[in-house]
């Protein structure tokens, strides 16, 4: 589904991504781990088109996507999240959902079209929100949500967009254990509905709980890949994690 070949990116002489190749098959949940500065987020940015890579090819659903605009890549079914999920703070929860709906996407270009979304679309959105226990919050601004609600909204939005591939950027950062389990459940349930995942995180416990397969990065390169349990057991990976962040390695 996603095929990344030999992607490179450097800022002013620093090789942030130094020849990375990875692939994600349909229906998989793939992890991507690495310490700070390993190049995970840079790689994410290149894949999603937010940053133009220096070299390499990226294919998504058999289309060459490097060089496409990030909006076009998103519209083709690859949706990413951000490390700090703030949503659209001064838009209601429902509006946040609508912006991601397919129906709006097609009507956006018509300046005056569809001033009010039809009932069916709203009902659709509310149904998804209900699944995340957000339906009672549909009419309040996202900035007034609690942090866990915000996290849930992120998944609700993703369901609204019906992406084929979701790239999650550190979904477990700053999340309490109860919520984390909740998250894991939602990721699996989405996967069962046909969404493929590529998950970046530090948190090895989280990664091993949800990801079947994992890539480990260091210094802009992939240093290990394979089944998650093997990668986590890889001596190189352990050395890196213990060397830099004992707390996280223990987690």
């Amino acid at each position: 589904m996603l095929d990344v070949r030999d992607v490179r990116l450097s800022y002013g002489g620093v090789h942030a991504v130094n020849g990375v190749s990875l692939d994600v098959q349909e229906g998989e949940i793939v992890g991507l781990i690495g310490t700070n500065g390993a190049g995970k987020t840079s790689l994410f940015n290149v894949i999603t088109g937010f940053t133009r890579g220096d070299a390499g090819t990226i294919r998504f659903l058999d289309n060459q996507i490097e060089g496409s605009s990030p909006a076009a890549i998103a519209a083709s079914g690859m949706v990413r999240t951000f490390q700090t999920p703030i949503g659209f703070p001064k838009m209601t929860v429902l509006e946040n959902m609508l912006v991601f709906s397919h129906k709006e996407r097609s009507e956006r270009r018509k300046l005056l079209g569809g001033a009010r979304p039809d009932k069916a679309l709203i009902a659709d959105a509310l149904e998804i929100l209900a699944e995340f226990r957000l339906d009672g919050r549909a009419d309040i601004w996202v900035q007034d949500l609690s942090a866990p609600e915000m996290k849930m909204l992120e998944f609700a939005r993703a369901m609204m967009a019906r992406p084929k591939l979701m790239l999650l950027d550190e979904p477990a950062a700053g999340v309490n254990p109860a919520l984390m389990e909740n998250l894991e459940g939602h990721i699996r349930s989405l996967r069962d509905r046909g969404v493929t995942f590529l998950v970046v995180d530090h948190n090895l416990r989280f990664i091993s709980a949800v990801c079947e397969r994992t890539y480990a990065m260091a210094d802009g390169k992939v240093i290990a890949d394979g089944p998650t349990s093997d990668v986590i057991a890889d001596p190189e990976v352990i050395r890196l994690y213990i060397g830099t962040g004992p707390g996280e390695a223990a987690a």
Binding site: G12, N45, T51
Partner: protein
């Protein structure tokens, strides 16, 4: 050769007017439209002082100090209480402050043009050619000194470092034992005083009218943005780019378009360098 002198004078005027504004952008993070009226305040205070018999140099210093105090008062009364409300609210509060200052000065001083009562001077000669007048030379020196002084102050002194710390991260600065409030007062004093000094120079070199503050703030905004918002070095470079750009541009364009020329330079530079001139040495922030 003339063109170099003209450019240097124009650049110095721009620099002295803008540097205080840029300082406030850097520390407070908003565009203080009332800075133009600080020039007006300085100009008229200096005029009033010289009219009651104070010699020019002390009058200029005193006017700068008085304007600096006004800036502190403005910060304490108007801006500090609304700091949390965001840049747009602060910007328009400063527009309100600009109206108030302009209106009060207008009511006291009247709308007629006024000028400093000084004997006219000729440009001094350099290699037998007219160079610049002593007032022009003074503003060039003062502008360069103030820029250099600010640079040394910001990078070499404790207060300067604390100003930078507050600008970078107020909470962190507080944790390190820096009192952001007294730092802010200091910034407002310095910035406004420099504005006031620029106003005195503008008055000495030309004349004073109530419109001066509004005319200057447009140029100040332009210079500061051209430099890259809030960057002191950017604003220094921008003053020179703008001033010399206009002087050389006038070789090709009718002088009627002088101000349009200034704006064209800004448009062109920002199209090439969307983050202003500071982006020549500050690496652009990464996407998102």
């Amino acid at each position: 050769m003339d063109i170099i002198y003209f450019g240097l004078i124009s650049a110095s005027v721009l620099l002295l007017s803008s540097v205080g504004f840029a300082l406030i952008v850097q520390v407070e993070g908003f565009l203080n439209i009332a800075h133009g009226q600080m020039l007006l305040m300085g100009g008229y205070t200096g005029l009033w002082l010289t009219n009651i018999g104070v010699p020019l140099a002390p009058a200029a210093v005193l006017a700068a100090v008085i304007t600096g105090l006004l800036g502190m008062a403005m910060y304490g009364l108007l801006f500090r209480p609304i700091k949390a409300k965001g840049a747009l609210v602060m910007l328009f509060t400063s527009v309100g402050a600009a109206y108030v200052i302009n209106g009060v000065i207008g009511a006291i001083a009247g709308a007629r043009m006024q000028g400093y009562d000084l004997p006219p001077v000729r440009a001094m000669l350099l290699f037998g050619e007219p160079f610049m007048t002593r007032y022009e030379l003074a503003i060039v020196i003062v502008a360069l000194l103030s820029a250099l002084g600010l640079h040394l102050f910001m990078s070499g002194t404790r207060s300067g470092k604390s100003i930078r710390a507050v600008a970078d991260n107020e909470a962190l600065a507080r944790a390190r034992g820096i009192d952001p409030r007294s730092t802010s007062y200091l910034v407002w004093f310095v910035a406004s005083a420099l504005g006031g000094l620029a106003g005195v120079f503008l008055g000495v070199m030309g004349s004073l009218t109530l419109a001066m503050g509004w005319q200057q703030i447009i140029l100040i905004l332009a210079t500061t943005v051209l430099g890259g918002l809030g960057s002191l070095y950017g604003v220094m470079l921008a003053s020179f780019v703008l001033a010399f750009g206009i002087e050389f541009g006038l070789l090709a364009v009718q002088p009627a378009y002088r101000s349009a020329l200034a704006f064209s330079i800004i448009i062109i530079v920002l199209l090439i360098r969307p983050q202003g001139l500071q982006s020549l040495w500050v690496r652009a922030a990464r996407t998102h």
